[in-house]
Amino acid sequence: MRKKDFDVIIVGAGPAGLAAGYVLAKAKVNVAIIERGTFPGSKNVMGGIFYRKALDDLIPEFYKEAPLERHIIEQKMWFISEDSVFSTGIKSEKFNKEPYNCFSVFRAKFDKWFAQKVQEAGALIINETVVKDPIIENGKVVGIRTDRPDGDLYCDCVIAADGVNSFLAKSLGLREKITPNKVAVAVKEIIGLPENVINDRFGVSSDSDGVTIEITGPYFEGMESMGFIYTNKNSLSIGVGTIIEDLIEHKVNPNDLIEKFKTHPAIAPLIAGGETKEYLAHMIPEGGYYTVPKLYTDGLMVAGDAAMLVNSVHREGSNLAIESGKLAARTYLEAKDKNDFSAKALSAYQAKMEESFVLKDLKMYRNLPHLLEEKRYLLTKYPQLIIDSMYSIYNVDGVSKPDKIKNIKDKVKKEFGYWNLAKDMFTLWRKLG
């Protein structure tokens, strides 16, 4: 019989890998998680909003002990031009009640805590180790090769949760080459400010209540960019993510972009007096449903960012990662009962994912990435129209309201055409639902 070091080897101690590890360890499976950082979380970055539900199903009421920043009671969406903001959003006391909807988090702290829970459940976490390749025998993945001396490890099944750059998924031919139009790079700063200053500026009454602002619009000059500001306890997470192809075409450096973003008249006062504590960058797989690879092969399943599981419309990713890790682990447990880890047996993972909110959500928005790629003006011209129209209506300058409405209508007719406007609205409505 072949040597076997573990039942399951998970590559990557992010939310997908840790969730899989937790489920398996709880089921008394001999599982190892390989992490290349000095500790789980040390290389993990996201904007910073973590949705409770997927993890609460695994570790009930985790939010009472996990290192979280603020629970979010208001979510805003801003469309910005050079000098204006059109703002929309939802603030609700319903978000201010346990068990809470989502939280701002720091991944280096959060993932470290999560990894501790997984370790307590019985998983082995091996840090400071890079997985170089899968080990393949007779067309089946039977282990992984690490950068440690004598670093070959064998197992029944590998779960590749190795993040957006996933070399495992790529080397097995599961994933196509990622092109610059399918992935964004986000840069972020943690800006320190006193708790009470944050409370005052964002209109919340305590340091546990938080606000999020997502920001796009003509300010980004036709690039598909999404800015964000999230409140932490005594800092703000501020960042901008942009499709890499747009950065290339517009010859823009991501740090220059965030520096300019910070000077916008609506944003500068929110961060004024703050001190930058850390600067971070990370890629976000934005391609959506059509870029999700086949999720399994003989002896291996793919989860999290490695499987491109990001819902960019709702900036959800870590919850999709956790759900996918959980479902991969449950698929393994079923496969173990029959001692069959073939592609056929593991295809149950794909079926579970299709049934879950993860692929249902991504499927619903499947045409949106392509639509936005084709019609970048949806993010610029329409927000600009709204900003200009609202400015005109709110600005009292002696022009009658009927004349103002007529001017707006004339402008729409001239710049868009009623037919094109109707067509765009119809397309958006259809592709969003």
Partner: protein, 91 residues
Amino acid sequence: MRIEDKLYLVGYNVDEEGSHLGVSDPEACKKCQGRPCTYVCPASVYSYDEEEQKLSINYDACVECGTCRIACDYITWRYPRGGFGVAYKFG
């Protein structure tokens, strides 16, 4: 804030044994239009030395996002050895 000052705030465990970044065909850089690696990298790792006619790679500033390898097929990119590279405090 200058990128140099921002990178000063980032924790690194630099692998003195060598770079995890490279270029598979240095001739390609000479002919490259616009050299996107020199501006898309969030940590400004890449710069082009006109005199030497070659790409200069400051690998110890790399934050391991992978943007450069998506932007350019000639960039050879692997993870730093286990335990080396960027180590975030907040994340």
